[in-house]
C-alpha cells in the first residue's frame, strides 16, 4: 500500500528513482495501470457526480422553456420574421423532446445515474486511450534514437504522467465560482497539463536510458508524425482521387 501511494506521489516530485524502478520492474505496466485506475476513478467520480447532480437538479421542462424564451427574446425581436419563425420552430422541437425525455422522472434519473456510472468507470480508459497510442509511437522513435526501453517499461513509466490529473476536481470546483471561476479553472487545467508534459519527458528519458534532450526530441517527432501523418495520408488520398478522376474522365471523352 505504502509502495503504491509513493507511486502516486513521487512522480509528482519528478523523482527519477521511481521511474528507474518502473523501468526494471516486470510489473511496471500493471503498477502504472493501477495508478491510472485510481486517478481515473477519483476524477471520474467527480465528473460523474456533476453529471448526475445536474440531471437531478434539472428544472421542470416547462419552467426551463419559459426561461429560455425569456433569455432569447431580445435576439428574437431583432431577427427578420422568417428567421425568427425558423428559430422558434426549432426551439419548440427541442422543448418537446426535453418533455419526452423527462416525462417519467424515475426513468430519467435512472438513465442519468447509469450514464454517470458509465462515465465514472470509463474515466481510466479515457486516460489510457489518450496516452498509450502516442506512447507506442514515441517508443518506436525513441528506439530509432538509440533508446533501450521495453514495451512494459515504457508504458509503466509514461502512464505515471496522469498523476497531476488528481488536481482536476479542484479545477472543476474552482470553475463553479461565479465571475472568476472559468479563469481559475483554466489556470488549474494549464498547470495540470504542463506538469503532465514535464513528467512525460522525464518518463521517456528514464525509460530509454538517454538524455532529456533526446526524450524531448522523441516526443516532438512523435507529435509531428501524429499530426503530419494523417495530413500527408489525406493529401495522398486526394491526389489519388484526382488522378483516378482524370483517368476516368479521359476514358469516357
Amino acid at each position: 500500500m505504502r509502495d503504491f501511494v509513493s507511486l502516486l506521489w513521487r512522480p509528482l516530485k519528478l523523482d527519477v528513482n521511481v521511474f528507474e524502478a518502473q523501468r526494471t520492474s516486470p510489473d511496471a505496466f500493471k503498477r502504472a495501470f493501477l495508478v491510472v485506475v485510481v486517478v481515473g476513478l477519483l476524477t471520474g467520480l467527480f465528473a460523474g457526480g456533476v453529471t448526475f447532480g445536474n440531471a437531478y437538479l434539472a428544472p421542470d421542462p416547462a419552467q426551463s422553456q419559459k426561461e429560455a424564451i425569456e433569455a432569447m427574446r431580445p435576439f428574437l425581436e431583432n431577427m427578420p420574421p422568417e428567421t425568427r419563425t425558423y428559430v422558434q420552430e426549432g426551439m419548440n422541437l427541442g422543448f418537446r423532446i426535453q418533455r419526452i425525455v423527462q416525462a417519467d422522472r424515475g426513468k430519467f434519473l435512472t438513465d442519468q445515474l447509469l450514464e454517470a456510472l458509465g462515465l465514472w468507470f470509463t474515466s481510466p480508459i479515457g486516460y489510457l486511450a489518450a496516452i498509450i497510442p502516442f506512447t507506442l509511437l514515441v517508443l518506436l522513435i525513441a528506439r530509432l534514437l538509440g533508446g533501450r526501453a521495453s514495451l512494459s517499461g515504457m508504458l509503466g513509466c509514461t502512464l505515471l504522467a496522469v498523476t497531476p490529473h488528481l488536481l482536476d476536481p479542484i479545477g472543476i470546483l474552482l470553475g463553479a465560482i461565479p465571475f472568476c471561476g472559468a479563469c481559475l479553472g483554466g489556470i488549474v487545467g494549464l498547470i495540470t497539463f504542463i506538469w503532465s508534459i514535464v513528467i512525460y519527458v522525464v518518463a521517456v528519458a528514464v525509460a530509454n536510458s538517454f538524455s532529456y534532450a533526446r526524450g524531448v526530441a522523441a516526443i516532438l517527432i512523435g507529435l509531428a508524425v501524429s499530426v503530419g501523418g494523417p495530413t500527408v495520408l489525406m493529401l495522398l488520398f486526394a491526389i489519388l482521387m484526382i488522378v483516378l478522376g482524370s483517368l476516368a474522365g479521359g476514358g469516357t471523352s
Binding site: K30, D111, G126, I132, P133, S152
Partner: protein
C-alpha cells in the same frame, strides 16, 4: 486459477505469461476456449447493457414522431414540392432505421453478436496466426510449431476484457486503444514463441497486421458486391 493469472499477466505485457502459455500442454485448446468464452461473455454483457438502456432510456418512437411532426408543420416544408417531400420522408425513415449505428439501443442486433463476435474473433486469430507463423518461421527463420504459436497468440485477445464494461448502458470502449494493445500482446507472443529479436518481432507483427487486412478487404468487397447485385436485381436490371 493458473489460466486466470496467465490471462492478467499477459494483459499487462509480462513476458513470462507468454512463456508459460508456450510451455503449456494443450495451449491451443486453452487459447481457443479463452477466445470463445471471452467473446460470449462480452456479447452477453453488451446485450444486458443494451436491454437496460432500452428500458431506462427515452421512448425513441415518440421522439421520432415529434421530429416528423415538426418537419411537416414547419414553414419550410410547404416550400418543398410533393416529390421532394416523399423523398425527404424516405430519407427520414432510412436515417431512423440506422440509429443503432449511432448508439441507439438495438437488443436484436446485440443478440446476433452472440454468434457473430466469437466467429469474427476466431477468424481474426486464425488469419493473423497463420500469416505471422509463415512470416516468422520461413522469412525470419524463427523456431516454433503452429499449434503452440496459436495457443500463445490467443493471449492477444486479453485487452478485449475491457469490453465487459459495456454492461453499463451507453459505454463505448476506444477501439484504437484495444487494437493497439492487442497488437502489443501479439508482438510479445511472436517474440517469445519464435525467439526473435525485438526488431524482427516488430516487423513480423507489422507486416502480418498489414497482410491480415487483405482478407478483410476481400471479404468485405465480396459482401459489397453481393449486396450491390441484390440491389440491382431488386431495382430492375441495368439498361
Amino acid at each position: 486459477m493458473n489460466i486466470v493469472s496467465t490471462f492478467f499477466n499477459a494483459l499487462f505485457l509480462r513476458e513470462d505469461a507468454y512463456s508459460r502459455m508456450r510451455d503449456k500442454e494443450k495451449g491451443l485448446l486453452s487459447g481457443l476456449i479463452m477466445i470463445i468464452l471471452l467473446a460470449l461473455l462480452v456479447s452477453v454483457l453488451a446485450l444486458v447493457g443494451d436491454m437496460i438502456e432500452a428500458a431506462t432510456g427515452p421512448d425513441l418512437g415518440q421522439i421520432k414522431d415529434a421530429v416528423w411532426q415538426y418537419m411537416i408543420n414547419s414553414s419550410w416544408w410547404k416550400e418543398i414540392p410533393p416529390a421532394g417531400q416523399k423523398q425527404t420522408q424516405q430519407m427520414f425513415e432510412l436515417g431512423w432505421s440506422m440509429s443503432p449505428l449511432f448508439g441507439a439501443p438495438n437488443p436484436v442486433g446485440k443478440a446476433f453478436d452472440l454468434i457473430v463476435r466469437p466467429v469474427i474473433w476466431l477468424a481474426d486469430w486464425l488469419i493473423f496466426g497463420v500469416i505471422a507463423f509463415v512470416l516468422a518461421r520461413f522469412a525470419f527463420k524463427g523456431e516454433s510449431r503452429l499449434p503452440t504459436f496459436l495457443g500463445v497468440l490467443a493471449l492477444a485477445v486479453t485487452p478485449q476484457v475491457f469490453q465487459l464494461l459495456q454492461i453499463l448502458p451507453g459505454v463505448e470502449i476506444d477501439g484504437l486503444l484495444l487494437n493497439l494493445w492487442s497488437l502489443c500482446c501479439a508482438y510479445l507472443a511472436i517474440k517469445v514463441c519464435f525467439g526473435l529479436s525485438v526488431a524482427r518481432s516488430f516487423w513480423v507483427t507489422i507486416v502480418t497486421w498489414l497482410l491480415a487486412l487483405i482478407p478483410f478487404f476481400l471479404i468485405s468487397g465480396f459482401f459489397t458486391a453481393i449486396v450491390s447485385g441484390v440491389q440491382m436485381v431488386l431495382s430492375g436490371l441495368p439498361k
